[in-house]
Amino acid sequence: MTAVDTPTVRKGGRISRLPPWLRRVLPLLAILGPGLVAANAGNDAGGILTYASAGSQFGYRTLFLMVLVTVALVVVQEMCSRLGAYTGEGLGALIREQFPLRSGAAAMVLLFIANAGLTVSEFAGIGASMELFGVSRYIAVPVGLAAIWAVTVFGNYSRAERVFLAMGLVFIAYPIAAVLAHPHWGTVVSNLVWPHFLHTKAFLLLAVALIGTTITPYMQFYIASAVVDKGVTPDTYRNERIDTVNGAILSDVVSIFIIIATAAAIGGTGPLSSVSQAASALRPVAGAAASQLFAVGLLGASVLAATVVPLSSAYAIAETAGVERSLSRKFREAPVFYGIFTAQLVIGAMVALLPGNLVELVINAQVLNGFITPVLLTYVLILANRRSVLGAAANGRVFRAVATVCVSVVAVLSATVLVQTVAGWV
């Protein structure tokens, strides 16, 4: 997905060597803009399991929250792609230039921590999906790690990325499953337009996890860098904005259908305890093959995100340091970039191998992201408000108000859960 510095697909020579059917499919995938790609990366292992858990634990009650989160996601992603298009620099670079060094360093540390948590959850997703095929995660995770590293450092990343992306398309099965499962449409609609929230700690915690998995910091850093790399200028920004907004909405529509499908199938059975439970929501579509179908999709999404998330930290930190960052360079030419990528990958895989409940681990990583998201969003908001950065394209009065409300709601929610958790320990 990080189309950053991967212009290989545009070169005719490479494509002509592919089999004919792939030659027809590839251009279709190649036109996917960074906006669509970035937002759909949100439907990764963590995303799918969190949405499924929301459906199984609280039925349709979280749907209204998802509508709000979609609005916030659109607002945030638009700001980031605008920053990229108008300044020609990624968020990492802008943070180094525009903020005092200490706050810039703090932002990078937070991003690294958030992404470390996510990488763990992606590897947990790889392990869990292969366990559905009967392969032990102690084999699947190390093999996955080696494959991802080799493809990214030595191989043709852009081609591999499209294969993973195509595997992730399996999750389009969820809307179909949701329809086939005959949910109570009346309840669904009433939950979508009016909040039916519960005043329990479990609900609040899941709400933060939902926010954390939908508005993920790496998506913001990714989209800004990708827009810069694509060479979007202020003149061509109009199309880019359409792509960004569409991508955010489309990805959240899939998320909402995952919740509906799971709620209709196993709603009210308490928190998700295993991956096969999440797979059972696909039974209306695939019947007995539901578990395999789910595993393919989960594997594709996890492998893709396990590559993109460490890459986004590597890009951001290398941008901040000002050193060379590009997949087209060799390891020796961009040691910092590849070093951070490798470190995050290895740490993620090792933590994912610790014994324990994979689903719980994955959802905890989303909660961690939920805490870090509002902090990093504040940087984005300040940058997008600044006229010295964006000139006439800086946030207008109305947009600024909407964006501020979005960020503060997310912040208040996270803070509440944080205080409750800390109070729970004491």
Partner: protein, 264 residues
């Protein structure tokens, strides 16, 4: 049976191995000496180099010792002929507004003392001259690219030094130590120890920001050297030398004697 194991094995050249060992020892010794030399040089330089990172935000004092504001930026003039750009003014924040004070009124002492020379200094409104480079706004923390467009580093600090005819920019610090110094506790801020310095002479071009304040658009690495995009090195990144503290000291001495000779 092991007691009469031969101490000499055929084919193993003991003399050769001891020679390589002594060479290794000599290398280690030399590295130690170099490190000591650099440490001493760095400590010595602490008294003669001005650090932009330490200067920024520090108090600007009037001749009578009263604080008139805090330093916001240092303005230098980029002239094609001269290797080292000279400071022309400083931007001082007084109350809620910024004013420009010309370099001839200013006296700077390492590590971070800024004073007005006389009780009557002339301050004017901030305006940008096309050849002006604002060090904090345009150089510090901004991308440096090499002649092929490869992104190399962002300067962690900018070093200046006082000569007879004014204050000039000597080079940029690219070491990690300077970054840590700025992130760390504030009492360490004035501990200026150069680590890896790129001589300003190695800078091929610096195109200052446009007069209207707009920034150029597009990928930074594609536009090296264009207006407002930042610093470009004169050669490939591998060829540009990063000076160690003792080399900086040597360069500084040579530079001072040269400027003395020029002024006489």
């Amino acid at each position: 049976m092991g007691f009469n194991k031969p101490t000499w094995t055929p084919g193993r050249d003991r003399i050769g191995s001891s020679a390589s060992r002594s060479r290794r020892l000599a290398e280690i010794r030399e590295r130690r000496q170099r490190q000591t030399r650099d440490r001493l040089a760095a400590r010595e330089l602490e008294g003669s180099l001005l650090s932009l990172a330490a200067l920024l935000g520090s108090d600007v004092k009037a001749a009578d010792g009263n604080t008139i504001g805090s330093l916001r930026d240092v303005v230098v003039r980029w002239t094609a002929g001269a290797p080292y750009p000279r400071m022309t003014a400083i931007v001082v924040r007084t109350g809620k507004r910024d004013v420009l004070i010309g370099a001839r009124w200013i006296e700077m002492r390492p590590p971070a003392t800024v004073r007005l020379r006389s009780s009557k200094a002339y301050a004017r409104a901030v305006e940008r001259h096309p050849d002006d480079v604002d060090l904090a706004q345009d150089v510090l923390d901004h991308q440096v690219v090499d002649s092929s467009g490869t992104q190399v580093v962002r300067p962690a600090d900018v070093y200046l030094a006082e000569t007879d005819d004014g204050i000039e920019v000597l080079g940029i610090e690219v070491g990690l130590g300077a970054l840590l110094r700025r992130i760390g506790p504030s009492f360490l801020r004035s501990r200026i120890r150069p680590q890896h310095v790129i001589d300003w002479q190695d800078m091929a071009s610096f195109a200052p920001a446009r007069a209207d304040g707009s920034r150029p658009r597009g990928r930074r690495s594609d536009m090296a050297g264009r207006a407002g995009t930042g610093l470009e090195l004169g050669g490939p990144a591998g060829d540009v030398k990063r000076l160690s503290p003792s080399e900086v000291r040597t360069a500084l001495r040579a530079y001072k004697t040269r400027s003395d000779r020029d002024s006489t």
